[in-house]
């Protein structure tokens, strides 16, 4: 049985008294791909951001690599390196080339030598099929290429898990496939992933488990066939119908 990489226990979060997450229990094991689905506003982004504390949860515990995840200081910074995050809007550094985007944190956060950081960045760019665009700035790349550079930026840190927040939602339809292909190949390489997505066909094919979130609660969770083909709740049935 694979070990859990990331475990959330009773995670809660409210914004100005309005609850966004209500007692989330969830774990992702080594090599596992867990897809988070649910309507907009159901708390998918908040859940992902609570994992690496870009959003500070109000309560509950995060465990990472079998131990309590650190809540501050250098230890938190190091844990963040090991939980790569990919954002809906890419959030690449516009003043840096693709290679520099991917090499920055290996050099300045992980403390690798310049050469080793570049090497890690080049390897990461090859894994997303962009070795030949290493010297391009983000504004010279298509949206799909930008998102792949953002994935490479996370991969260059050799993360134990990737947190992906609707990585294809900002893309033109014809560019979605290239990004999903990369995510599929990472899954084949055994990279653990927690991904918020509206791509149900992709989730069915690639996910080990699908988690359905509504109003800050996990309503259903299980293998794709079970969750997608035999929904138990009215909320999930109506959500799937409207897609």
């Amino acid at each position: 049985m694979a070990l859990p990489v990331l475990e959330l226990r009773g995670i809660g979060k409210a914004f100005d008294g309005v609850p966004a997450l209500k007692g989330i229990d969830l774990s992702v094991h080594e090599g596992e791909l867990v897809a988070l689905i649910g309507p907009s506003g159901s708390g998918k982004s908040t859940l992902l951001r609570c994992c690496n504390r870009l959003t500070e949860p109000d309560g509950g515990a995060v465990r990472f690599g079998g131990r309590p995840a650190p809540s501050g200081g250098r230890a938190l910074a190091e844990a963040r390196r090991r939980m790569g995050m990919v954002f809906q809007a890419f959030n690449l550094y516009p003043h840096l080339t693709a290679l520099e985007n991917a090499a920055l944190a290996p050099r300045r956060a992980a403390g690798l030598s310049r050469k080793a950081a570049e090497q890690a960045a080049r390897e990461a760019l090859s894994r997303v099929g962009l070795a030949d665009r290493a010297d391009a700035r983000p504004d010279a790349l298509s949206g799909g290429q930008q998102q792949r550079v953002a994935i490479a930026r996370a991969l260059a840190l050799r993360p134990r898990i990737l947190l992906l927040d609707e990585p294809t939602s900002a893309l033109d339809p014809e560019l979605v496939g290239s990004v999903l292909d990369v995510i599929g190949s990472l899954k084949a390489d055994g990279v653990a992933m927690l991904i918020a997505t509206h791509e149900i066909a992709f989730a069915r094919e690639a996910a080990d488990r699908i988690v359905f979130l509504a109003e800050g609660r996990i309503l259903e969770s299980g293998p794709p066939e079970e969750v997608l083909d035999r929904p138990r709740s009215a909320r999930l049935r109506s959500f799937l119908r409207r897609l």
């Binding site: 959030n91 003043h95 944190a105 956060a109 840190l157």
Partner: protein
């Protein structure tokens, strides 16, 4: 009656006072070389501190910056240069002037850089933090390079202002270009040294103004 040339463009007087004026120009350049990098460094420190400070400290910094900006620069200069000895500090005159002008110009550089930092999307901070960069690392490698490019025209304009401000040094008896020109004017009973000083100022500031214009025409970063 003396011709206008003999009065304002007297070659003999200019030649005789040239040595004095060049010494003055050197002092002016020395002050600039201290004040401009000093103002940028202190301004950057203020702006970055404000960007990560708790709200009360941010407000306190703004309050201090407004206070400094409210002083006419000459008043601030006189106050600091003549006030430092009462605090037991007796820096050489050049350094005293440099400190006073740095205080003034840092307040402006600081506000410009603060606006530059504010122009950068929160998402850039978050992306950088998510890779494990420390706050100083995020600022240095991600936020400041973009912030500076977004406000480069204002930074360049303020640099021109700071260079011009050095002429105030003559008011507290620093032997800068303007001061030397006025001494030469007194010695020769002739204003030609002032004209020569004006020419020297232009030789040093005109190209700088051109650079500022060219930078101002450049577009900011695409978002």
């Amino acid at each position: 009656m003396a011709s206008i040339f003999e009065t304002f463009l007297n070659g003999e007087v200019m030649l005789e006072s040239a040595g004095l004026l060049l010494r003055g120009l050197l002092v002016t350049l020395e002050v600039s070389v201290l004040v401009i990098p000093g103002g940028i460094a202190v301004g950057a420190a203020l702006a970055t501190a404000a960007s990560v400070a708790p709200p009360w400290l941010d407000r306190a910094l703004s309050w201090g910056v407004d206070l400094v900006r409210a002083f006419p620069p000459l008043v601030l200069l006189v106050l600091i240069v003549h006030g430092l000895p009462f605090l037991g500090l007796e820096p050489p005159p050049l350094l005293g002037v440099a400190i006073a002008l740095t205080v003034n110009t840092a307040a402006y550089y600081g506000e410009i850089l603060r606006a530059g930092i504010a122009s950068i999307d929160r998402a850039q901070w978050e992306a950088a933090r998510s890779t494990g960069l420390s706050t100083p690392g995020v600022l240095r490698f991600v936020i400041l390079p973009q912030a500076v490019r977004n406000v480069l025209p204002d930074l360049a304009g303020n640099t021109l202002e700071a260079a011009k401000l050095t002429a105030l040094a003559s008011a507290v008896a620093l032997p800068d270009l303007l001061r030397m020109a006025r001494i030469a004017q007194g010695v020769h009973f002739n204003p030609s040294p002032l004209v020569l000083a004006a020419i020297l100022y232009l030789l040093f500031l005109w190209p700088l103004a051109g650079v500022v214009r060219r930078i101002g025409g450049r577009t900011t970063l695409p978002v």
